[in-house]
Amino acid sequence: MPTFVYMTRCDGCGHCVDICPSDIMHIDTTTRRAYNIEPNMCWECYSCVKACPHNAIDVRGYADFAPLGHSVRVIRDEEKGVIAWRIKFRNGKKDMNLLAPITTKPWGTAIPKLSEESAPSKDMTDSQLLFNEPKYIRLDEGGLHTLESNGLKMKEGVYY
């Protein structure tokens, strides 16, 4: 397919349509449910699968090289900050559950609102420094590297 939608689970909410980076999840006008309109432009990125509130989207490996009978399912839990995967092999011999963190902080809370920061000084503007630098470069007293500080020159046509 590679993604496809189970008819009985989809309620046409459109979350998958909103997120697909390839613009290929669309709502079918007759059934009012989602489907993949262009399977050969699907990356199996699972963005839509993770976004679907009803677990209605699944993936069947690419027909040109993947035989039938496998499954890779996922549940992404933003509240808990984790993602859970289940991988089942075609021959049934392997069935794996894997868990990983997706964030260490509640969403968005730790990102500074730069419009609330005090305006940069003229010195900062004229320097080579970016926001929060030099502190954030080394997280110590060290400043920005320059050619002079590092004993370097630019030389034309020189090999090492």
Partner: protein
């Protein structure tokens, strides 16, 4: 057409494409441009767009100066070596000296970075790579961008840049259309940061039919970063430096963590180590500076990525394929086995799907590897992109026209895949480049360089007509035939893409010709490319979704023509393993230790090519030796 025209005026910084570089630009420009109007125009939804949509399991560029690991110049030397000498070292040094601050921010924002329990330093995968749980990398940086921008327009495919009618060669914004509503969007802006990403799918992929979307770089990477810039007349560099990747077969699962962290290694079909046997002959072709087969154990110079491909390709052509990744040893350790799987799930789920489908358990079976079709991009182990100005305290005269990362079009900046000569930026480096470009864009405005910009209604109308022409064309001609997709008056975007891929594959050194091309083939390719360009004037789009594909194709076509021109110009095989010029198989440092620079005349479509000097950073000691 019954679509609305929506004009967004008085923008200061317009960011076209918000992947890694674009989100970095949005975040940073808010700091330097507190009262400026910052707007994002993105083709997809910035929460999951670009090459990092499905996540990453590693940040490939982190110096670790904080932990005493590396200095920026170390990374410059590495990237220079990997790219056979051809890099913009001013830009690389600049990116490397700022990149750690971006990574430290990511950690503070909640991106889970792994740590080495013994040293407390970030868990390294290799000298430059650190390991992360990066499934939500993109949503995290997208949050930062959304908090900073005045407006985010999702689902806008940017098709053209607007040019200033008052002053030649100065940018004035961009236009595009909403792929859902069909509305025509006009963004009038003082500056533009182009961060629309590299190009997949310009060479015929190994996958076919339904699987054609299984490419290594995302199928939605439409080369817009190049198409937009080339069309506006910006100078481009290193477009011949396409990349071929060695990856797990069919799924294109990443191999970095496998090699570097899991310590797996490769073997040929009969179980031998094969790489070293191709190197003595190859070192005659490229010279000792780049591949010193005798002194390598002393110099510890890394073997360039392209040269490893060379060994792989030749071994397979000699009939000793397939090349296997030896995973069976490492995977006996359950911890390493888990990392191996997580590595896919975090960035290339398709590989996990494939192994589950084909019952390949790497614990009991060594999986196959392959070399991919070529890609055109500027942030991985390759440096295609725009010719941009360097930072003021580093760049020599030829590399400097005032504003960091500004292209040769005034007010137009490039970052990530869009900026040329800066390979090995990867995700963190692209984000960093976006930040650098944004600061420079704000400065450009504050210096009064964007005064008096004019955009005529005529320009806006002309572009509007041009954008929707494929839909008009479809309407006019579809009733000439009974049904189906075969029409004497048009081709559809898929047909056009197939043609482009076949052409590039056969004439520009794709997979089916073992990456080989020559002067004659390239010239035929260029001739056919011109005809394709003419036919793209007659492309037909049945609906707005197809219109999106039509414009993606046009950007791919412009990128591809530049690849042909550059490959023809550089009369040597600089990167064996990425491509071969059969008529100039030797690397030629006498004549070609230079960067290639092109410009396409926006009015005539004619190309001019030039050589630009290659400046290298040297330390005092190195200078004494030289």
């Amino acid at each position: 057409m019954g679509y609305k025209t929506i004009v967004e005026d008085d923008i200061d910084v317009l960011i076209t494409g918000a992947g890694m570089a674009g989100t970095g630009a949005a975040f940073e420009s808010r700091y330097w441009g507190k009262d400026k109007k910052i707007v994002i125009a993105e083709k997809a939804n910035i929460d999951r767009s670009g090459a990092v949509a499905q996540g990453l399991y590693a940040i490939n560029t982190y110096m670790g100066t904080r932990f005493g690991e590396n200095n920026p110049e170390d990374h410059v030397r590495y990237a220079r070596m990997d790219l056979m000498g051809m890099v913009r070292e001013d830009l690389l040094f600049d990116m490397a000296r700022h990149v750690d601050s971006a990574v430290h921010q990511f950690e503070e924002w909640g991106l889970p970075l792994m740590r080495d329990p013994k040293t407390g330093a970030y868990q390294r995968e290799g000298r430059w790579q650190i390991m992360i749980h990066g499934e939500s990398y993109k949503p995290i940086v997208a949050e930062a961008a959304k908090k900073s921008a005045d407006k985010v327009f999702n689902r806008i495919c940017v098709t053209h840049l607007l040019m200033d009618d008052a002053k030649e060669n100065r940018v004035a914004g961009a236009v595009g259309f909403n792929v859902r509503t069909g509305d025509y969007h006009v963004f009038k802006s003082k500056t533009v940061v182009c961060a629309a990403g590299g190009a997949s799918n310009i060479f015929k992929p190994r996958s076919v039919g339904e699987g054609a979307g299984r490419v290594w770089y995302a199928p939605w990477s439409s080369g817009s970063a190049y198409g937009l810039l080339i069309e506006a007349g910006a100078k481009m560099t290193q477009m011949e430096n396409r990349i071929v990747l060695a990856r797990f077969k069919d799924g294109y699962g990443p191999v970095g963590a496998y090699f570097l962290h899991l310590k797996t290694y490769t073997q040929n079909g009969v179980g031998e180590e094969y790489e070293s046997k191709w190197f003595p002959e190859l070192s005659k072709m490229v010279g000792k500076e780049y591949l010193d087969t005798e002194g390598q154990h002393l110099s510890h110079k890394p073997i360039p990525t392209c040269l490893r491909n060379h060994a792989f390709i030749n071994e397979v052509n000699a009939g000793r394929g397939p090349i296997h990744m030896v995973t069976m040893e490492a995977f006996q350790d359950p911890h390493l086995e888990e990392i191996g799987w997580h590595n896919f799930l975090g960035m290339t789920v398709g590989q996990a799907v494939l192994w589950a489908a084909t019952d390949v358990d790497p614990k009991y079976e060594n999986p196959e590897l392959t070399t991919s079709e070529p890609y055109v991009m500027g942030s991985h182990a390759t440096g295609c992109g725009a010719w941009v100005s360097g930072p003021e305290d580093i760049a020599p005269e030829e590399y400097f026209w005032g504003y960091n990362r500004m292209t040769t079009v005034e007010g137009l900046f490039g970052a990530g895949d869009a900026a040329g000569g800066t390979p090995h930026a990867f995700s963190s480096g692209s984000f960093t480049e976006g930040r650098l470009a944004a600061k420079a864009a704000c400065k450009y405005i504050d210096d009064g360089k964007a005064e008096g910009i004019k955009v005529s209604q005529e320009q806006i109308d002309k572009r509007g007509k041009q954008i929707f022409k494929p839909m008009e064309h479809y309407k006019i001609y579809r009733n000439e035939i009974t049904a189906g997709s075969v029409n004497p008056n048009y081709i559809n975007p898929r047909q056009g893409l197939d043609r482009l891929q076949k052409l590039m594959d056969e004439y520009a050194g794709g997979v089916t010709v073992s990456y080989m091309t020559n002067d004659k083939l390239l010239n035929i390719g260029l001739k056919k490319m011109k005809m394709l360009e003419e036919d793209l004037e007659k492309i037909a789009a049945e609906d707005i979704h197809e219109l999106l594909r039509a414009w993606e194709l046009k950007h791919r076509q412009l990128s591809s023509e530049a690849v042909l021109q550059h490959t023809l110009f550089r009369k040597e095989t600089r990167w064996p393993g990425y491509y071969y010029r059969g008529d100039a198989m030797k690397l030629d440092d006498q004549n070609w230790h230079v960067l290639t620079v092109s410009r396409r005349d926006p009015k005539t479509g004619e190309y001019t090519m030039e050589k630009a000097p290659c400046y290298h950073l040297v330390s005092d000691e190195e200078e004494k030796v030289a």
